[in-house]
Amino acid sequence: MEQEASVKIERVTGVVPGEIDLRGRRRLSESVIQAITYLCGGISIFTTTAIVIVLFREAWLFFGSPEVDIGEFFGTTTWQPETGRFGIWPLMTATMITSLIALLVAVPLGLGAAVYLSEYATPRSRGYLKPILEILAGVPTVVYGYFALTFVTPFILQNLFGKENVEIYNMLSAGLTMGIMILPLVASMSEDALSAVPRSLREGSYGLGATRLETAARVVVPAALSGIFAAVIVAMSRAVGETMIVALASGAGPKFTFNPFQAAETMTGHIARISGGDISYASIQYTSIFSIALVLFFVTLLLNLISGWVVRRFREVYE
């Protein structure tokens, strides 16, 4: 090694200084590659722009057609494309009810799991438990849809509440299953937030004589609250946008109802069902799914923006 190095040095010193130009040069290939990376980064801008343009354009056509009136769209509670009645509320309420049920399942359970993992579990048991949550998170949503329809509805809900009370397709089973689906998301995001709370805070609390529960509930969780809140909002946005579970388990047909035992189609479920058939591009049904998608896009975008803002605004920063 030593010898090789000295040989090389001799070679370099053998060159008369002044013959090589050490100033930086513009290299064409470098600039080309840099430009390519610029463009690749820009694909994301293209995607967002394309989504917004496509949604607005088709929704514009939809609201411009004679059958549709924007006041009726946001003000009435019947969605019947066949008879030209387009009130988005039945789809909205179904989305809200299934998402709410999902959150009622996922937030307490996810938070409990996160507290256990970060405050109670030994590193070894965490090594066993976390992969299970990761598997749960990796199961495709269509599989959860199958689970909701073939297990949750017949074996849990209809046994519990009676076959005559629970329809085969119902919002409750879709919501419950969706809750199980987003549980790992809430758990892992909250656990990240909890683990980011410095050890010194916990030690301080223990030093004052607090129990593990008191430390967790009064010191660690409040300190990580912004992260937990962000997790809840991301979970909400995930629930609102989830398609396959509700398409399979929540029913096919918009219905304005607040009874979770009944079938009602959500916004995503409606889009999936209508676009799944062969619809003509000229029909009002085609443009109507874009108007629903536009509402959906803005709801989820808003939720994601709020979550990002909460994290930035309320994050507790520790040295």
Partner: protein, 420 residues
């Protein structure tokens, strides 16, 4: 912080219990602690139970007794098992046993000289043997309640045979779609999934990695950088069905001459093709790949870059010779995760219009297609226990693939993880 969070006065503020009171106080707090600990643990256990129940439901549906009736006993058709016969012999059996009109119609759909042996065999089984499943039992009852099932079968279907059937088997993996559950398979759905994934990854990985390189290596903190970054973070949260809508409007409809292959001389297709699906899926997983690749690139220590610059390397030489090789395991892990996301994703492909009933295997990017998750969706939404069973079998195929992929990703991460 804890002092303000609503501690009732008298328990620990300004008052220290003494004697018996202090031990009571401590005992109470310990009990509360133990109870809540159990509650926290049970929320994890509920998750685990849900996962176990999910897997149990799938396995329960995918295996079990079936009651089979046949129109003709297959042993009377030939002296050997049907699967061992040649294509010509099978064609003869078919000709002898179905009406000539029907035979001609099959020949017109796809000439027998061009059909594969498997497709003729499938026709013989469907049309001649006519195996019909008249009852299906789940795995649990098959194991625990055999006597009852046998008695029921003798009573209701005296001619039929009771046999233990694994809905997932080799034929299921290779056979094409069929409207009769026991003859249906995921063969062309697997091929369709493969085609879509290959195109998705070919598009998304280079673009994603280059995008990440821009964000981590080239970008200065200007408006373009901030715009790209905000967009990527927001796109990661857009519901997948919106990507489907985007794909429907742009790739299926606006770019139909390209995606249907009309520009390249393919005539019998519309824009609902593999290439449209590939493009849509690529846009969908792009944010995921960029975010993971960024993290991997960021983990490469600055000292490596500086050493490279110090030796006179240019920026791209530094990136391609030092940053990327060191970030490769991380990028691969992210890629595999993106891939498993794309394999399991269903909603956008439904919107794009993946056909559910496809009897041929796709062989170009301008073909119609179906994928495994779409099959699961389709079969689950059909009434009847047999469709539920094949849905369960298809789910096993899907989950096995995904588990293998994710295990590979974890192994890669552990094997090549380096700390600097």
């Amino acid at each position: 912080m804890s002092a303000e969070s609503g501690q009732p006065a008298g328990r620990s503020i300004g008052y220290l219990p003494e004697g018996n009171a202090i031990s009571k106080n401590i005992a109470g707090r310990r009990i509360r602690g133990a109870v809540w600990r159990i509650l926290f643990l049970s929320s994890l256990i509920i998750g685990i139970v849900a996962l176990a129940t999910l897997l149990y439901t799938i396995v329960d549906d995918a295996f079990g007794y079936i009651v089979v009736q046949t129109k003709v006993d297959p042993d009377t058709l030939a002296d050997r098992p049907l699967a061992e016969l040649s294509k010509e012999e099978l064609t003869e059996i078919l000709r002898a046993n179905i009406s000539s009109g029907l035979f001609r119609r099959f020949d017109r759909d796809e000439p027998f000289s061009e059909r594969s042996k498997e497709s003729v065999l499938a026709l013989v089984e469907e049309r001649v043997v006519g195996r019909e499943v008249v009852a299906v039992y789940k795995l649990t009852e098959s194991l625990l309640d055999r006597e009852r099932i046998e008695a029921e079968t003798r009573e209701k279907y005296p001619r039929a045979e009771l046999e233990f059937h694994s809905w997932i088997n080799r034929e299921f993996l290779s056979r094409p779609m069929s409207s009769i559950p026991i003859l249906a398979g995921v063969g062309n759905a697997i091929l369709g999934s493969l085609w879509v994934i290959v195109i998705t990854m070919l598009l998304a990985v280079p673009v994603g990695v280059f995008g990440a390189i821009y964000l981590e290596e080239y970008a200065s903190d200007n408006w373009y950088y901030r715009l790209v970054e905000t967009n990527i973070n927001n796109l990661a949260g857009v519901p997948s069905i919106i990507y489907g809508i985007l794909g429907l409007a742009i790739f299926v409809r606006a770019l139909e001459p390209f995606t249907s292959g009309a520009m390249f001389g393919v005539t019998d297709s519309n824009g609902r093709t593999i290439i449209s699906a590939g493009f849509t899926m690529a846009l969908l997983i792009l944010p995921l790949i960029i975010i993971n690749a960024r993290e991997a690139i960021r983990a490469v220590p600055q000292s490596l870059r500086q050493a490279s610059y110090g030796l006179g390397a240019t920026r791209w030489q530094t990136i391609s010779n030092h940053v990327l090789p060191n970030a490769l395991p991380g990028i691969l892990t992210g890629t595999i995760l993106g891939m498993s996301r794309a394999i399991g994703e269903t909603a956008p492909l439904i919107v794009i219009g993946a056909s559910t009933f496809i009897v041929f295997s796709p062989d170009s990017i301008f073909d119609k297609f179906t994928v495994i998750p779409i099959q699961i969706y389709n079969w689950t939404s059909q009434p009847g226990a047999q469709f539920r069973s094949i849905a369960a079998a298809a789910i096993i195929v899907l989950l096995t693939t995904l588990l293998t992929l994710n295990a590979t990703a974890i192994l890669l991460r552990n094997r090549f993880q380096r700390s600097y």
